[in-house]
Amino acid sequence: MSLRNYIIVRILLAIPMLFVLLVVIFVVIRIMPGDPVAAMLGGRASQEVIEARRAELGLNKPIIVQFFDYLGGLLKGDFGTSTMTGRPVLDEILERFPATLELTIFAFIIAVLIGIFWGSKAAQKRDKPVDIAARGFSMFMYSVPVFWFGLMLQYIFGMQLKWLPIAGRISATVDFESITGLFLLDSLLRGNWVAFLDVLEHLILPGITLGLVTSSIFLRMVRNNTILTLTSDYVKSAKARGVPENKILYRHAVRNALVPILTVMGLQLALLMAGAVLTETTFSWPGIGSYLIMKIRYRDFPAIQGTVVFFAIFVIVINIIVEIINALIDPRVRY
């Protein structure tokens, strides 16, 4: 199969996946008890007002009609209107998304760096202190509740040592105008170094929280895969030829170990966004995670649906990109 055809097939396969997901989300949200309009208006509005608002939002139509209305809207890029704010859901998501993306990328970099360096060193020094520490760290980070770890960092580095800010994306008093919503990038584009440093400071604690938690998965994978490649014949022959140990580790073992890990890392980047929910709540990070939590509380159907669909599209796109990269690296994948 040519690369072009392969890409087309991958994209076509994603469509039924997205459709099934849409049906599931749509049904699950609706069978849960709780009327979004009543929740929004509280107990104060009359039944007439509630009914009028339901009609306005199309919530009085049969569920199947609502579904196809929604689907039709989605195809035109309309994610619906939030019952809480009366604003287009896509606008609200796009306002929040850069915050999550920024945090996720930052955390991902931390996770990858720790994963690759410590994981490969642990493999090289198997059963030595470096390896034991890596395994201990990995187990601890994998099992620790994210919010607890975040709170601890807030307490130590924010409250006691006063080194870093404990919440938000930027200090209230720092003048700053966003362009893309990625504050770190925007402050660079504007040449606003005060804002850049401030944003960076704000990123550190939530980024480390999320990054360290994710790094435990990478670390273990890199370690295990590197151990496997270190025991392979070509590494043994490289050793026999007298190639320096570090060169063997990074040029041969880690590089080969990374091929299968790349797929997982791609998916992990998408899952990281989902994992950002708790981190965002702990650090008052105004991203999609905290947005989703807020909307679930108020049973804001269109917003919950929109966020999940947005996530799903994001995961699918990342997945396709990863598969394409894999197909480029290893042509056997295409067959």
Partner: protein, 501 residues
């Protein structure tokens, strides 16, 4: 020359000092839902509007007394149906658009036409609006309603700039200011920045820039204050955190009256709560003091009527009862130690902050002291909770109330009238009490209204569709150099009075 240089340095230093002190950062866990008065029906959105717009009437500072503002004066027709308002001349929005009778007509009609969440406050009583002349605005009511001017104190009735707000749809941008501040930056759920509106006709703000920073939870808000990220923490700190903060030398904790009331609601049509004896028995053993002490660390006050303390017509109609009286009532209702009354008590775990589960727990312990009641605690998130109580699924549950306007009517009509009780999940119906409240709505005589509201409150204690529990206390924690914090009975939090010392 040296002297001059020194003077310049001192002056520059002072100037920089003044500039540095002209910003106050306020932190909150609340959110802004909208800045359109036609849709705004939550505390914090109103709070911003109250500082950015000017209302037709206002509350006197630190009081719940209504005073003229954009409406300089008004006359009411003898039948109580026509209100003729005289608009203050020379007042403009920040872009120079004059605020006149046309602007008021545009704003009132827009609210009613759009039918947003708070629209019923006007549409339930307003029949028509009319521009008599440029500065005379007339409103005709559907029926006489003596609290109408109080309703105008709520942001739903505040004029908006027709050049900015569309007539036929909600507006999700920043309002054109007519109040002490204007919005210069709004990054949703991150921060909103207010700066002095130079065209405001009233008192100039003492601090040029107010930044409101949003936090997700109470613990982060507390940390933000303690680490100096914010100057003021306004809504909502945890009561235990407040106790800790009170001990801090660098911080001050200010508490003030709050018109917020909390209660237990009974669905009077759902067994076993359809038996008044059961409701009365429960009201006898509820220990308000224990809730206030244990859960709120005394940062609330026991309440014995739905009308809050300090408001005219308030009367303590409930009392601290006794376990013995409760037992007698339960025996009469057919329950005893062998045939126990088994009930579900519902609460919403996050909607009213972090303390609700503790309140439910204390209530359960109070009720089980009788030895005849078995309580099962149940909870549901707010959306489900509202759905349940509107559909009559819950027999006994906790609810809170923030007033729309400061008048006893807003504490009794929404609960004791048939339509109101339905929307509160109590489904209480009493035509006589409804007639009494209607008479109070029509009357312009405060003494007569007071007597009528006493009748309603006394019925509340006998019929017991609700048991009032406590009245909230508003709390603000701030750095010690922040002055001008006023927690007013009207709930208005005025940023223009704040300053740094």
């Amino acid at each position: 020359m040296k002297k001059y240089l020194l003077s310049i340095f001192v002056l520059v230093g002072l100037f920089v000092g003044i500039l540095a002190q002209s910003t106050i950062v306020v932190g909150t866990t609340d959110k802004i839902r909208t800045l359109d008065p036609a849709l705004c029906y939550d505390y914090f959105s109103s709070n911003i509007l109250q500082n950015v717009l000017a209302g037709p009437v206002d509350y006197k500072v630190n009081s719940s007394e209504i005073v003229p503002n954009l409406f300089e004066s008004w006359e009411v027709s003898e039948d109580g149906l026509e209100y003729t308002f005289h608009v203050k001349k020379g007042v403009v929005f920040e872009d120079g658009t004059p605020i006149d009778a046309n602007v008021f007509k545009f704003s009132f009609d827009r609210v009613i036409k759009l039918g947003g969440d708070p629209a019923f406050l006007l549409s339930d009583v307003v029949k028509s609006t009319e521009v008599v002349d440029n500065y005379t605005f007339k409103v005709t009511l559907l029926y006489p309603f003596s609290a109408f001017v109080s309703v105008l104190g709520y942001t739903v009735a505040w004029p908006v700039n027709p050049k900015v707000f569309p007539a036929d749809k909600f507006y999700d941008g920043v309002p054109s200011s007519s109040g002490p501040y204007k919005v210069t930056e709004w990054i949703r759920d991150v921060r909103i920045t207010l700066r002095t509106n130079e065209r405001y006709f009233g008192q100039k703000p003492k601090t040029d820039r107010i930044i409101i920073q949003f936090y997700e939870n109470a613990s982060t808000l507390r940390l933000a204050l303690e680490t100096g990220e914010i100057d003021i923490a306004f809504r909502h700190l945890d009561p235990r955190d407040i106790l800790d903060l009170k001990n801090s030398k660098n911080l001050q904790v200010i508490q003030g009256e709050s018109p917020q009331v909390r209660m237990v609601v009974f669905n009077v049509q759902k067994p076993p709560f359809n038996d008044p004896l059961v409701r009365q028995a429960i009201s006898q053993v509820i220990d308000r003091h224990l809730i206030v002490e244990e859960v709120f660390q005394n940062m609330a006050a026991p309440l014995y009527s739905l009308v809050p303390m300090g408001m005219w017509s308030h009367e303590d109609v409930f009392q601290d009862g006794s376990v013995e009286t409760a037992k007698q009532l339960l025996y009469q209702a057919g329950y005893n130690e062998r045939n126990k009354l088994v009930i579900d008590l519902w609460y919403s775990p996050t909607h009213y902050g972090t303390t609700e589960a503790d309140v439910a727990q204390v209530l359960m312990e109070s009720l089980e002291k009788t030895g005849i009641i078995d309580v099962r605690l149940q909870y549901a998130e707010w959306a489900t909770y509202v759905d349940y109580f509107l559909n009559g699924n819950m027999g006994m549950f906790l609810l809170g109330w923030y007033p729309d306007y400061i008048d006893p009517d807003d504490y009794l009509w929404p609960f004791m009238s048939e339509s109101g009780a339905k929307s509160m999940g109590s489904f209480y119906v009493n035509p006589y009490i409804e007639a009494v409240m209607r008479a109070a709505r029509v009357s312009n005589d405060q003494e007569a209204r007071t007597d009528l509201y006493h009748v309603v409150q006394q019925d509340l204690a006998v019929s017991v569709p609700y048991v009032p529990l406590w009245q909230g206390v508003e709390t603000v924690a701030a750095k010690t150099n922040i002055k001008g914090i006023l927690l007013e009975p009207s709930q208005v939090f005025r940023y223009y009075l704040l300053y740094k010392e």
